[in-house]
């Protein structure tokens, strides 16, 4: 979340889309209810089904699963056409005024109506990719800063291109695509657009209903654009609020569990990035304003060589965050840079990065002095992490981290797709022979789960750490399978439950809350940290005893979490995540203290500060429980600790008017620039430098979106995502209708097609003539994920004892199905049986002259536990989001029949 849970009490307009918080995040409704009661907030719900959240809503809009982009683009179009956007915010804080390069504009003009593909598409590989240089900004050749038109009227500027792009999403077209009546779309838009006023705040609450599509990331992009147009980012009661689907999935992603990240969202290296890339580190770069030449005395360079196309990045002085490509080097160590350096400067620390290295690919650069470009600090985070993990390899010599390349080489390099579906394909292919499943139940949670179950059958061994004997733990004796045919050695390790172990949990609002152990785990059950500690120690001793392929990373790893009696302590891990000075092993205050020299070690830069109350003063900040709030906006800044830097609302610099530095809405002040004090005042921690001015005309002014190299909120996505700078409506891979915007390109062009056999329908999608009904899956309040934790508890089994399929009265009548009948739901991948729950809360969609039926079902059920049922994921397809590969669980084609 950009904001946090308690902030929901500050909201005036809730847009709930792609989620069902009353059922699946019920505690959120503690705060939503406060906003409804105390502020007269309005609740707007967009959902294929009239859910328990919709039951509390002021406005409800139905839409066919998979058409969120059409809906939100329709909202965006109406807002642009009727000037309902916040003009100041758009002009000052977004890239709407930036000009796009001529080739992009030419392409868009030549391809009208938009064909569903952006310029630069290369279809020769799988997946197809875009050459994103085609999407770049126009840049001033002298300064390197993007060209803008502050009037937003120039035909090259993003704002005009946006208007044109979204103009296709008229209410009529949106109705044809989504099945939502035009009047309803307009009503929802007009109501939500009221949050664009300076004294109003609107929030978007979303969850897996938005992300679990092949264009799920673009769904979120659409929300982002909407929120930026309405000045809702960075303010109290606003934001893009992802409601995470697991209690500590935020913590998991923070710690780098996603395959393409190292901890703290530092990208993991690919096999084309064979070096870390620190060429030279120096100080006192001297430059002359307007010239393209810089000089530095030889003694200021490290003795690593510098080459053309290397990148120079500034780390201190008045160009901090700026980075420039080197175009020539001479023996006197004069470097010629691609653009003129903006100002003469002294005390400028710099790093020179090798072209083609990891850092070259992952240090974004900018030339705008107003852009902080925070990710330029990535070098510090990565080196500090390498120092934490392999301390003896990374050492400081003359200000340079020697051995960092060695440590970098210990990191595994990605050479393909390691996302969830691919892992199972690797098992099918025999590449992966063993599985460690920690609190995970793939037999129920995987898409196309029959295929996953068949993969489990192929494993040589499986270690499963669980509280119960789940479906996965007993896959080898599941219904329909003869255990004698399965050769997997299964080790079921009993695990401790949440109150039986200590550690932190990060909630959706980035709050890291410490949990203490309340009771001992039963019997032989152990907590995860104990088990992982044992894994490491035993693996290490195997390597020590018998060598092996490349033992160095294991043998040299720093692993020092045991306390007394050899029991590992979560607090020791936290301390390492916080980071410390290597000279004296005292904690760093936060990530602003981290260096790229090797003088600091830090396991996770966003967590830096979680274990320090001041520089060199240790305190578990996550364990704080002061529930007084003095902010007036529910920040509770002394309750636990949140990242980054205990900043509760991120991008909060955008909460002020840049003409004055004062809050857009004084009644919900987040931060405020004080000219008198020449610094920012709270109540929250300001994002982007406490002494950088909030007034746009002042020289120390800095842009609020510090994690983007252009400093702006991106209504135009530029190079961020794989599938385009604007969200475009694509149909799900299984769709009941053609894509009326571009029938020749119905689905996203960048979808990855998994190689593998077609026996279990891996890359085959159901035909709409045979499977005409839209199917979706969702959760209910009473059950949790793949069901082990709830279907094994009698009080929860009691409230939802059986799997069911919800369908409309109309569809039920057509099929001769009465409420409570037993039905079969089939897709091309498989079929399930369940009870029919016939309800008026689902209605057929009238779309473009056609009636399209939709059904939905919870996916919690499986063949184990007190409350059993068929697993809905037997039906869902093995295909994933273009950017994240999260499976498209939410929209597929099926058929229903009475049994």
């Amino acid at each position: 979340m950009t904001n946090h849970w308690t902030d929901l009490a500050n909201v005036d307009y809730f847009l709930v889309i792609g989620s069902n918080p009353a059922e699946n995040h019920p505690i959120s409704f503690h705060w939503v209810t406060k906003a409804l009661e105390n502020r007269g907030a309005k609740l707007l719900v967009v959902d294929p089904r009239f859910s328990r959240t919709a039951a509390k809503a002021h406005f409800y809009a139905p839409l066919r699963s998979g058409t969120d982009i059409a809906f939100v683009n329709g909202m965006i179009n109406r807002i642009l056409e009727n000037d309902l956007y916040n003009a100041d915010y758009v002009k000052y804080y977004t890239n709407a005024s930036f000009k796009v390069n001529a080739a992009f504009r030419a392409y868009m003009e030549a391809h009208t109506p938009f064909p569903g593909t952006f310029p630069g598409l290369n279809t020769s590989a799988n997946p197809a990719t875009y050459d994103k240089t085609a999407w770049g900004y126009q840049v001033d050749p002298n300064t390197g800063i993007p060209l803008k038109d502050d009037t937003l009227k120039d035909p090259d500027c993003i704002f005009q291109i946006m208007k044109q792009f979204f103009s296709r999403y008229t209410p009529e077209v949106v109705e044809k695509i989504t099945g939502c009546p035009q009047a309803t779309l307009m009503q929802i838009t007009d109501e939500y657009a009221k949050s664009g006023a300076a004294d109003k705040a609107g929030t978007i609450m979303y969850a897996m209903g938005a992300t679990q599509h092949t264009y799920g990331t673009q769904n979120i992009r659409a929300y982002g654009i909407l929120q930026m147009l309405l000045a809702n980012i960075g303010i109290a009661g606003g934001g893009i609020n992802a409601m995470r689907g697991e209690s500590n999935v935020q913590g998991a992603t923070d710690q780098g569990i996603l395959y393409h990240y190292l901890p703290a969202y530092v990208p993991s290296p690919t096999n084309t990035q064979q070096s870390l890339g620190i060429r030279a580190i120096g100080t006192d770069m001297v430059s002359t304003a307007g010239s393209k030449v810089v000089t530095s005395a030889a003694s200021n360079f490290s003795n690593l060589s510098v080459a053309v196309n290397d990148i120079l990045v500034f780390y201190a002085g008045n160009n901090t965050g700026n980075g420039i490509k080197i175009t020539s080097v001479d023996s006197a160590n004069q470097l010629t840079l691609q653009y003129a350096v903006n100002k003469a400067g002294t005390g400028q620390s710099f790093m020179i990065i090798r072209a083609g290295s990891y850092l070259a690919a992952n240090i974004p650069v900018t030339n705008d002095p107003q852009s902080i470009n925070w990710w330029h600090n990535r070098s510090k985070y990565l080196v500090s992490m390498l120092k934490a993990w392999w301390p003896n390899q990374v050492n400081v010599t003359a200000g340079v981290p020697t051995g960092a390349e060695t440590a970098y080489n210990y990191l595994p390099k990605r050479s393909g797709d390691y996302s969830y579906i691919s892992l199972w394909e690797a098992v099918h292919a025999g590449t992966i022979k063993g599985l460690v499943a920690m609190g995970m139940n793939p037999a129920v949670g995987s898409p196309n789960s029959n295929r996953t179950r068949a993969a489990l059958d192929k494993l040589d061994w499986m270690v499963i750490m669980e509280l119960w004997e789940t479906e996965t733990a007993q896959f080898w004796k599941r219904p329909g399978v003869d255990p004698a045919t399965i050769n997997t050695a299964v080790y079921l390790l009993p695990a401790a439950a949440m109150v039986e172990k200590e550690g932190s949990v990060s909630n959706s609002g980035r709050w890291c809350q410490w949990r203490h152990k309340a009771v001992e785990p039963p019997g032989m059950a152990k907590d995860d940290l104990w088990m992982l500690n044992q894994f490491y120690k035993r693996i290490k001793s195997r390597y020590q005893a018998s060598g092996g392929a490349f033992p160095d990373p294991i043998l040299n790893m720093n692993w020092n979490y045991e306390g007394t009696e050899g029991i590992p302590e979560a607090a020791k891990v936290s301390r390492e995540l916080n980071g410390y000075y290597t000279a004296d092993n005292t904690v760093v205050q936060n990530f602003t203290k981290l260096t790229y020299t090797g003088s600091t070690a830090c396991g996770n830069w966003v967590f830096s500060g979680c274990f320090a109350s001041a520089d060199k003063v240790e305190q578990n900040m996550m364990d704080r429980r002061d529930n007084m709030d003095t902010s007036g906006i529910g920040l509770y800044s002394n309750w636990a600790w949140c990242w980054p830097l205990n900043r509760r609302i991120i991008y909060n610099r955008a909460s002020v008017d840049p003409k004055t530095g004062l809050p857009w809405d004084p009644s919900r002040k987040v931060v405020q620039w004080s000219t008198a004090d020449a610094k920012w005042l709270g109540p929250d921690i300001v994002d982007g430098g406490a002494t950088n001015s909030g007034i746009v005309t002042e020289s120390s002014y800095r842009l609020p979106f510090i994690m983007n190299n252009d400093g702006m909120g991106r209504v135009y996505g530029s190079f961020s995502l794989a599938d385009g700078p604007f969200p475009e409506h694509y149909e799900p891979m299984e769709s009941p209708v053609e894509n009326i915007l571009h029938p020749a390109q119905p689905t996203s062009p960048c979808v990855y097609k998994y190689p593998g056999d077609t026996n279990m329908q891996l890359n085959v999608f159901g035909d709409r003539s045979k499977y005409p009904i839209v199917g979706t899956t969702y959760r209910v309040a009473e059950h949790w994920q793949a069901g082990a934790m709830t279907r094994n508890l009698s009080w929860l089994a009691e409230v939802q004892p059986s799997m069911f399929v919800e369908m409309s009265l109309e569809l039920a009548a057509e099929k001769g199905i009465a409420n409570g009948d037993q039905v079969r739901v089939s897709t091309i991948r498989g079929s399930i049986e369940a009870y029919a729950l016939v309800t008026g809360r689902l209605k057929p969609f009238q779309m473009n002259g056609q009636t399209v039926h939709q059904i939905g079902m919870p996916w919690h059920y499986g063949y184990a536990g007190i409350a059993k049922g068929d697993s809905a994921n037997i039906l869902t397809p093995s295909v994933g989001d273009v950017n994240t590969r999260i499976p498209e669980f939410k929209a597929f084609l099926c058929n229903v029949e009475k049994i």
Binding site: H30, F50, R52, T53, M803, G820, G840, K868, G869
Partner: protein, 285 residues
């Protein structure tokens, strides 16, 4: 202890069942899974209730039940009603009135009505017969009735009932009765602007009352049948022996007899009631 009340604001209830489970957990009540449907089946092991509501009704083991009811509104707007159903904790509990064993049914100073079931004795289940809402439930033939206990042990310790404590949106509230009444009235006034049928159910002569947006039957809440006490009285007066006849007064119990039992009495009375001289005609003539 000042008198307390539970106030349930259904405009806030999200039907999550936290209260239902909290009650089970606090009182250690066993779960009631549905009856078996297909033995050994993964898909159809249990009978299906047809809605999210489970179990189907209050029982000796389910003292707080969230009821679900859908309605397609006449204005085209879908509605889905949820509310936790439980004892209303009447001011003058008819169950207590009917119970023949002293000390079983207590109307506590907190306002809660609770049963000391260990003291239950031989009875005709009058508590259940008399309750206008059909709340007390028996455990088969065992003569002990069970229902919401107002979490009387928690309340006496200065705590809130379990359902109140757990409710995420704060729909179920607890406090001094006067304060709860004020809250309910204030909330009613606000809600009524957009929901003219909103009402307090069953009223303030109870220590557990609801704010409803519509009539109680829409929430599947029992309409108050205050004749239950009387029907119980009639039931107590009946026999399983053959019907009697009273010559000249009742005919053999044919249909006319059923109706005639009173009608003829009417004629009898009216005939006899001709006005004596000197008295004002009671009908003013």
């Amino acid at each position: 202890m000042t008198e307390k009340a539970i106030f349930i604001d259904t405009s806030k209830c999200i039907g999550c069942r936290a209260c239902q489970v909290a009650c089970k957990q606090w009182w250690g009540l066993p779960a009631e899974l549905p009856a078996e449907n297909v033995a050994g089946s993964v898909q159809f092991q249990y009978k299906f209730s047809g809605s999210y509501q489970n179990p189907g009704d209050l029982s000796h083991q389910t003292w707080n039940l969230v009821r679900f009811k859908e309605e397609a509104g006449s204005d085209g707007k879908m509605k889905w009603f949820f509310t936790p159903d439980r004892c209303r904790h009447c001011k003058n509990p008819p169950c207590q009135e009917g119970c023949p064993v002293p000390g079983v049914i207590v109307k506590d100073e907190s306002g809660g009505v609770y049963y000391n079931v260990e003291k239950c004795g031989d009875c005709a289940k009058q508590c259940a017969e008399y309750c206008p809402f059909g709340i007390p439930k028996f455990d088969g033939d065992i003569r002990r009735a069970f229902k919401c206990r107002f979490c009387i042990d928690r309340v006496h310790e200065g705590k809130t009932p379990a359902c109140v404590k757990t409710c995420p949106p704060g729909a179920i509230q607890f406090g001094d009765k006067t304060e709860m009444m004020d809250k309910a009235q204030a909330r009613l006034a606000v809600i009524q602007t957009d929901n003219p049928e909103a009402n307090i159910y069953p009223g303030f002569d109870y220590n557990n009352f609801w704010l409803l947006l519509y009539a109680p039957e829409k929430y599947s809440l029992a309409q108050a049948d205050f004749t239950r006490k009387e029907k119980a009285r009639l039931a107590a007066a009946r026999t399983s022996r053959k019907p009697f006849t009273v010559a000249g007064f009742f005919k053999p119990l044919t249909y006319l007899g059923m109706l005639g039992g009173l009608g003829l009495a009417f004629f009898r009375r009216v005939d006899a009631g001709k006005n004596p001289e000197g008295k004002i005609d009671r009908h003013g003539k």
